[in-house]
């Protein structure tokens, strides 16, 4: 069938600059560029261009500009280009629309409506260049109080805790969804910086198990790669119930991405689709979750905190409360803008609630019930910069998961084609030709640089607020004020309007 779709991107090539080196041709996994030997000319077919900018970045003479196509549909506030072209695709294929990365719709971003405090006169700001400034964070269940014996020694023994040198962890990204090189880069950066990466639901390749002390190992509904050794390799076991990008549905790794190495790690036949069911088939209620939490604690000899990750949905506060009461040591909440390697577009763009509101509601609820200390909260989905993270911690998070920022640090341009198996940046692909271009030496350096930069910025903001330890900001919503928010939004966030 003839496709009626217009290309998404337009490629402009400055022929006077082009030296026919054919870098663009080799860099593009979509085969957009080619060389016409007869004419001695580079040509392109932009129909498949993802707009990932790989060719433009690597063109040695900067001869390429790739920009959104100035399509010619009549402007229409209702029938925008996205709706028209999506609909045409479905008329041609009869299929669900797939997409990658996070929700790209213009839902309110509450981070941009929250402002931070700073000390002036009555309490001094603290200079992180001259004074200690502490970001160290411990995740895990804490008791209500400590007990000290007559002789001054400590009687209390804490449940297992994990130490983070900065309250930022790398989000779950599974081997198979991302390349081996990308996973190795995340693992190395987390280890070097003293934080954690998350295996996602695809198991942990043997050669990366040496980074287990800094791994959150996931146990998802497909149970890919889960065995006793895997569980005991990680520092935390995370039960993945849901994901912010696709609440309520399972995962789908297409068979073409399941190579031999992935087949071995995931423990499934090569070339078969890896389908994780929407629910865990052994969890149909909160008491079932409790049983799995305790089964995992048994399996890991009560030496590891158990995390439960849910998507931020309408009733997140009550669900989180149930999860804590079911025995989880960490609750991870993934918001509306959380990313994915592949999800139906209709789900990604319409299901779930913003992380800011969910996080505030969960923290408030757990405090009301007096169980906030029983579990740490990790917020996920939609962090773009260090100040977003500072605001999340002020709302009540112990730490945050970052996925997209880590990918962008490694080269990702959020072109949203992760589901295709083609990633010109070598991140979200298992094609060896593409993935080998991601050098873990360089990518892990870019990741530690990012953690470093954000941690420094967070220290500056903390010092400005006059505190020198992250725990003095955690849940300290008086350091936030809302701007341009309605009364109900301020109430959910537990934040005063600016000027009040």
């Amino acid at each position: 069938m003839k496709s009626y779709s217009l290309p998404d991107f337009l490629i402009e090539r400055d022929d006077s600059r082009c030296i026919r080196c054919r870098v663009c041709e080799r860099q593009c996994g979509w085969n957009v560029h080619s060389y016409d030997a007869e004419e001695d000319k580079m040509v392109h077919n932009e129909q498949d261009c993802a707009g990932c900018q790989r060719c433009a970045v690597f063109c040695p003479t900067k001869a390429l500009i790739v920009r959104p196509h100035p399509y010619g549909y009549r402007p229409n506030a209702n029938w925008t280009k996205d709706y028209l072209s999506d609909l045409k695709k479905q008329a041609e294929t009869g299929s669900i629309l797939l997409t990658g990365m996070g929700n790209d719709k213009s839902f309110p971003i509450y981070w941009d409506h929250l402002v931070l405090n700073a000390s002036q006169v009555t309490n001094p700001s603290i200079d992180p260049l001259r004074e200690p400034m502490e970001l160290r964070t411990y995740l895990g269940r804490k008791p209500d109080r400590i007990e000290v014996l007559e002789d001054g020694t400590l009687k209390t023994v804490l449940a297992p805790q994990i130490k983070l040198e900065t309250p930022i962890l790398f989000s779950a990204m599974s081997y198979g969804a991302i390349s081996f090189q990308a996973m190795e880069s995340l693992a190395r950066a987390a280890t070097e910086f003293g934080t954690m990466f998350n295996t996602g639901e695809g198991g942990l390749p043997r050669s990366l198990r040496k980074y287990g002390k800094n791994a959150v190992v996931q146990c998802a509904s497909g149970r890919f790669g889960v065995d006793l050794e895997y569980l005991n390799t990680g520092a935390v076991v995370e039960i993945k119930i849901g994901q912010g990008a696709k609440p309520g549905i399972g995962g789908h790794l297409p068979g073409k991405k399941v190579t031999d190495a992935i087949s071995e790690t995931r423990m499934i036949p090569a070339g078969t689709d890896a389908l994780s069911p929407a629910p865990h088939h052994d969890i149909y209620s909160i008491e079932d979750l409790s049983m799995l939490i305790h089964a995992l604690k048994e399996a890991t000899n009560y030496e590891k905190p158990i995390s439960v990750k849910i998507a931020a949905v309408h009733n997140a506060a009550a669900i989180a409360s149930g999860i804590v009461r079911a025995g989880a040591d960490i609750v991870a909440i993934d918001g509306l803008r959380g990313s994915t390697g592949a999800a139906p577009k209709s789900i990604r763009d319409n299901v779930g609630i913003p992380i800011e509101l969910a996080l505030a509601a969960v923290d408030t609820r757990l405090r009301q019930e007096g169980i906030r200390n029983q579990a740490s909260i990790i917020a996920a989905g939609g962090f773009r910069c260090s100040s977003d993270i500072v605001k999340a911690i002020a709302l009540g998070a112990d730490a945050v998961y970052i996925g997209t920022p880590a990918l962008i640090a490694m080269g990702c341009t959020v072109c949203q084609k992760c589901y295709s198996g083609i990633c010109n940046w070598g991140i979200c692909t298992t094609n060896p030709y593409l993935s080998k271009r991601l050098n873990p030496n360089i990518a892990s350096r870019r990741l530690t640089n990012l953690l470093n930069a954000w941690s420094h910025e967070m220290k500056e903001m903390l010092g400005g607020m006059g505190v020198n330890a992250i725990e003095s900001l955690r849940g300290n919503r008086l350091h936030l004020r809302g701007v341009g928010l309605q009364e109900w939004e301020l109430e959910v966030l537990g934040v005063r309007g600016a000027g009040r």
Binding site: N123, P124, P132, T156, L158, V467, L473, R474, N476, L478
Partner: protein
């Protein structure tokens, strides 16, 4: 007043602009012998310029020996009507052994004082529940009642405070008539809350008192934590959270005072990492379990209860504290000059490190805990 004149002389523009901060003073006789507060009033008056006349107060321990088994309530009332309502409430929950209007003296700078009443009470509960009963009822009155405020509720101790300079408050309450073995005093320069009678220091619950100089930057989370633990914070001040935190940790969680200090002003992780395994475990656990009670930002406090006085600054000492000993007396003060004024020849005078508690106990030696290592004792001569 002398100091006010000085200030005028020093300020060529005569615009009454006063650059100042709160003043704290404390004095403990470790033999437990009662003494007059004359010197304490002199000392706090010497730091006049650190306050702005919007709050002053004193805590005196050992002043009601004839009622040492009764809870002494000092209550401020906005009107006789509120008093009548509160009296009904008190009669319901306590045996009122004695009550009277607090003796005060008309003193010019103190204007528009509330009705001030003193009660000696016995809770109508089993003795082991007395303290909890008193805390519950005090918090209930302070939260629910419009216009009644209990500002002192311990046995054989009392708080005297109001809007005014501390030396004027002392005259107003006729403090010359009282003797105690432990005195703390406060001159206030309110910044984040308006000056009102209840907002003056010391803050009190049972026999705990807190005088405080600072603005705790972690107030928001300290308050949320305490509210979740049954302490509704009604006074909009960070001193209140300090008082409740002390009650929670030392009375409810039964932690020693040294541990409570380390919760308020813990060592840095970089220091903890250098400690031996047992100490490391202790401090790590403290910080893991009580992150929300780290008092972050500038503060100096003098916390007192029967037989014990404690001085503490935040861990990077953003507010001043000077300690001194002379014979049986331990002094704590915002400024050394205030101590020297009333006791020129001191045995020892020093500036404690940030987060290092200075603890004086009746019957024991004044103890100073240095930043590292075991306690050393400052022996009296």
């Amino acid at each position: 007043m002398q100091s006010k004149k000085n200030e005028r002389l020093a300020n060529p523009y005569n615009d009454d602009k006063v650059i100042a901060a709160c003043s704290l003073f404390g004095c403990l006789d470790i033999t437990g012998r009662n003494f007059s507060g004359e010197g304490v009033v002199q000392a706090i008056a010497n730091m006049h310029n650190r306050g702005n006349g919007l709050g002053g107060g004193f805590a005196v321990y050992g002043l009601y020996p004839e009622h040492k088994d009764h809870y002494a309530f000092h209550i401020m009332y906005q009107s006789r009507d509120v008093k009548a309502e509160t009296d009904v409430f008190l009669e319901e929950h306590f045996d009122i052994i004695e009550d009277e209007e607090m003796p005060t003296k008309h003193h010019h700078p103190i204007t528009n004082p509330p009705l001030l009443w003193r009660y000696f009470l016995l809770p109508r509960t089993e003795p082991e529940f007395h303290d909890n009963h008193v805390v519950d009822k005090v918090l209930e009155i302070n939260k629910e009642s419009k216009g009644a405020y209990v500002f002192s509720s311990g046995k054989n101790m009392g708080v005297f405070k109001g809007v005014g300079y501390p030396e004027d408050i002392a005259r107003f309450f006729k403090l010359d008539d009282y003797k105690g073995y432990l005195w703390t005093a406060h001159g206030r320069f309110p910044t984040n809350t308006p000056g009102w009678w209840g907002g003056a220091h010391p803050f009190n619950l049972l026999d705990w008192t807190v005088v405080h100089n600072g603005e705790i930057s972690s107030y928001g989370i300290n308050r949320r934590y305490l509210e979740a633990h049954g302490y509704p914070c009604t006074l909009q001040t960070d001193t209140e959270v300090m008082a409740y935190a002390v009650d929670l940790l030392m009375r409810k969680h039964r932690l020693p005072v040294e541990t409570a200090c380390k919760i308020f002003a813990p060592p840095f992780w970089s220091q903890i990492d250098q400690m031996g395994p047992e100490e490391q475990n202790m401090y790590r656990t403290i910080r893991q379990v009580y992150p929300s009670l780290l008092m972050n930002g500038p503060f100096t406090v003098i916390i007192a209860r029967h037989g014990e006085m404690l001085g503490l600054t935040d861990r990077i000492r953003l507010r001043p504290l000077t300690a001194a000993t002379r014979g049986n007396l331990l002094y704590l003060s915002s400024e050394e000059a205030a101590i020297r004024l009333i006791s020129p020849d001191l045995d020892r005078v020093w500036t404690p490190n940030g987060g290092e508690p200075i603890i004086g106990r009746v019957g024991a030696q004044a103890r100073a805990q240095p930043a590292e290592g075991p306690f050393t004792e400052v022996r009296r001569k």
